[in-house]
Amino acid sequence: MTQDRGTSQNGGGMDDFVLDGGSASAVAQTPPPLARLGGPIADLSYRNYDGPLHNRAIRWWVIAVSRVRYLRVRWWFWLFVALSLLPWLFTTVIMYFQSQTGGVAANSPFFDNTVGQKYAVHFYQTLGWQGFWLFCIALMTGAGAISSDNRSNALLVYLSKPITKGDYLLGKWMSTFLMVFSVALIPSLLFYLYCLLSYYSDGFLKEEPWLLLRIVGACAVPAAIHASLLTGTSAWSKTPVLAGATYAGVYFVSGIVALAVWGIRFRGDFSQGLLLRHLSIGGIIDGMNQNIFGITQHITAWQRHRGVQQLTLAPPSFWAMLAIAAGLCVIGIVAARLRIRAVEVVAG
């Protein structure tokens, strides 16, 4: 008969086990896990973290997502999102009625049956109507993105972490971009699906095969421009409200000024001065989208000295629009980058 003694591994005062020799199989169950944990009382003081640490690749995503998380719980944000969906709702409804009444409404100003842009025109129009709400959503996301960080000195926290200025900037830019992009893209994709299901037999896909790509591009345009300019404005301010107000000011004033200058120079002649009329933030977005969708506008306009006329307007020069749009993006990003200088991490 043997007696087994379990030994205590940590001075936790484990008693010796005295096992009956007969139950030799029970020997396998030597001192219970408590000994491995270092005794019955847990050590609640500081523990080191030796777990996994990702590499850099997704840092900007973390930054972008944090802004979204912040907005997700704010009711006013969802209000604006709902409002921005109204244009799509409207378009869907009139399309539906048109399909039901079979062409009666085909001559209304909402429809344009020119081949190649019969459906694209809806996307173009609705995105245009949505433009103001997209601008609002961009403001909500972007105005406070960097300016509130400036105010609370958050850069000190960011820069002591393993991220670069580029990561930070990308994350901030992405938060506005993705927000605007999703709010534009998701309803448009749903509408596309609706059209696909309803009008496939009418040649929806065949007539306008690249429409899907054009939609993605057109949604990206306002997103990119707003994101860049807002990030730039936000970086130079310490108050979100001020940054937002500044950008809103620029947005509206540029629109007013462009129209005013065009009106004076070309005396309200719609067929002229196309480029000038589009020289505002909203105008550039509109111009780019017109190019992306390849829309030739047919409008009925009242001209001075000539009365009501039917006009055919090609989109404004693609390269000019692209250059300006790209330029705006670059300006915004560079401005932001300049401002996020290596902050004095520790003051002397």
Binding site: L44, S45, Y46, R47, N48, Y49, D50, G51, P52, L53, H54, N55, R56, R59, V62, I63, S66, Y70, G144, S148, D149, R151, S152, N153, A154, L155, L156, V157, Y158, L159, S160, K161, P162, I163, T164, A342, E344, V345, V346, A347, G348
Partner: protein
Amino acid sequence: MPVASITNLTVRYGSKTAVNDMTVQVPDGCVGLLGPNGAGKSTLIKTLLGFVKPAGGHGQVLGLDVATQGLAIRQKIGLMPEQDCHIPGMNAVTFAAYAGELAGMPAKDAMRRAHETLEYCGLGEARYRNVETYSTGMKQRIKLAQALIHGPKLLFLDEPTNGLDPAGRDEMLALIRDISHGKGVNVLVSSHLLPDIERTCDQVIVMQTGRVVTQGLVAELRRMTTVQVEVDLKIASAEFVNAMDRRGARVLQQFGSNYRFELPDNVADAGRELFAAARDSGAQLRGFRPAVRSLEDIFLEAVE
């Protein structure tokens, strides 16, 4: 094995040379970084964080080169800045978890660890409130928590007791002492409050004008070269001084009823001399202790 070492480092900001040919080894454990304003402490910290491209020389932190591996360094160290800083619109838990994610932790680990770290730093129910509503003491704690969250091996603390009331200061110093002893975290504390450094750090580095002027174990730096005692009497007494004088001791300093005596080296029992002198002179002895150089004395001597 030093936790960080700098060799012949030169750092320039434009035309101004902040640090010139500096060499220092930062030992492991809890180290105090002292120096007058403008001594280059902040430049040293920025360099160790991998922000600054040195104009000359090189340095390494935890085995990583400061000039080329800045990002990897920042993943292994934590910084508790001096100024107020926080991420807007978050409560403590979200903030700490976010800081962890920025350092590369997976989201779930970051959240779990956030709670643990906040508990350790002494933020209880307040952790669910927006950080912007916090008092100074709580802001200091959350700054410490966000520095600790990813389990750094080296922690920089810049004026950690800034703005804390005496109770808060005690707690913060106890935290620093706890984390730097026995938990495997090396701590570098930069502060102007020398008694705080005395309470937490085992070693100090003293800098001035971009160079290290003194460095070593606090215990050794404080040792006296001669036998000196600090004595407290109830009331200042000239007879006591005379009695001590007769025993071969001389007075070095006096503040009111507090004296510092230097005794002859062969005195084996200082207490005996003092008690005897007190009895002879009728003075009331209220305390005596072997004198050590205070950190303040060490510091002032080093920089002057």
